[in-house]
Amino acid sequence: MKSHVWRPLYVVIVFVVALLVFRFFYVPNDFGSGKRGFMYSYHRISNEMEWKNQPAKYGVSGRERMHEYCSACHGTVVKVRTEKLHGIIPCEDCHGPAMNHPEKPEKLNIDRSRGLCLRCHTDLPYTTSERHRIPGINPKTHNTGVECVKCHNPHNPSLEGMK
């Protein structure tokens, strides 16, 4: 057969080889798939470690471990809180992320805003929701423009404990 028939084939072969060479150098060596197989988990294995090594910001003040992280230093405040109604709220929800706070006790960015309290204490007419069990106010009529913490003690929110 004449060479003009074969010539396009050479072009294709060169193209494919060039692609494979490029791919060989460009794709990282650790590409592979775990026990999930090729369809669902073909990936760069080292990326799993990259995600694992990301720094955490929040410590452990969550409901499950009940502020043990904070009580090591701030025992009395935490004790007051856990006995009162707001004891279920993790410290870091208002006081901000505190992962490195014990080592570098810089001032935390405490959220004292009205909006923070209104997240739970806005009165919504949802009688079937758990929200209804929380005392609520109408933010448009209840001391507008004043921060809630001016009158209410967030650590001891009972109305007798008003400032």
């Binding site: 669902y40 720094p55 499950e64």
Partner: protein, 258 residues
């Protein structure tokens, strides 16, 4: 003089003996193998009955994972469902409930709001949502470059250095759990706080929830309290009909919650 039969027998014996490697003769201790590769399968449990729509989970998630607070994208969000007595249904999630629900009016989108007469409200509830970390994730299947994947412990992750931002996975996800990160310009999604799990911490949203509406556990551990709830109580999943086998289980689902 050796007979041919004898010779062949001995040959087969020697070859068979030599082909057994030393490592095959060491006894395997199942406990050691399990400790090296722990059988972990992370699953999420949402108790919608306990959610009050405070949005602390969204705030904690965005802070922990560097998602811009004001951008209208989020790895997790809380939806509000309001059913009126004249049988109308409303769903909204303003700013992904980052600031909670501090108004009774429903956000209809495009700057329109609907105030519902409190006497007309039938039932109303809140539903937290996040990536379901499906067992057969449609999103990882469609990725053309191998940038998103399911780990062996059941978490769906995005390799953000390898992602080309084509958005196939955003389209493929039936739960709209993926979004385009406005700063990194690649796809971002809930990671179950993989960096926190590997440090033995709860994920940021589970940690932040005051009411215990969000929980997480190892579904392959029969003694795990969350696994016990999933196994023993009536839980549901979202959009079961898509066949993606979601691993986020919900207590108290309604027909409208999808």
């Amino acid at each position: 003089m050796m007979e041919r039969r004898e010779f062949l027998k001995k040959c087969i014996l020697i070859v068979a003996g030599a082909s057994v490697p030393i490592s095959a003769l060491t006894l395997i201790d199942p406990k050691k193998v399990l400790a090296a590769n722990p059988d972990i399968q992370w699953a999420f449990l949402v108790d919608t009955n306990r959610c009050v729509g405070c949005g602390f989970c969204v705030k904690a998630c965005k802070t922990e994972n560097d998602i811009p607070l004001e951008a209208n994208v989020s790895r997790t969000w809380v939806e509000r469902y309001v059913y009126t007595k004249d049988d109308k249904r409303y769903v909204d999630s303003p700013k992904a409930a980052l600031d909670g629900y501090t108004e009774s009016r429903i956000d209809l989108g495009r700057g329109e709001f609907k105030e519902i007469d409190p006497k007309n409200v039938g039932k109303a509830f809140f539903v937290p949502k996040l990536c379901n970390h499906c067992s057969s994730p449609a999103c990882t299947q469609v990725c053309p470059v191998g940038a998103t994947y399911k780990t062996d412990d059941g978490v769906v992750l995005v390799d953000q250095t390898w992602c080309i931002g084509c958005g196939y996975c955003i389209m493929a996800c039936p739960y709209a759990a993926r979004f385009f990160h406005p700063v990194k310009h690649v796809v971002d999604k809930c990671t179950f706080c993989y960096h926190r799990l590997s440090k033995g911490l709860d994920s940021a949203c589970v940690n932040a929830c005051p009411f215990g509406a969000r929980k997480m556990g190892n579904i392959h551990d029969p003694d795990d309290p969350i696994t016990k709830i999933i196994m023993n109580e009536r839980v549901g999943v979202l959009k079961d009909e898509f066949g993606t086998k979601p691993q986020a289980f919900y207590i108290g689902l309604a027909q409208e919650v999808r």
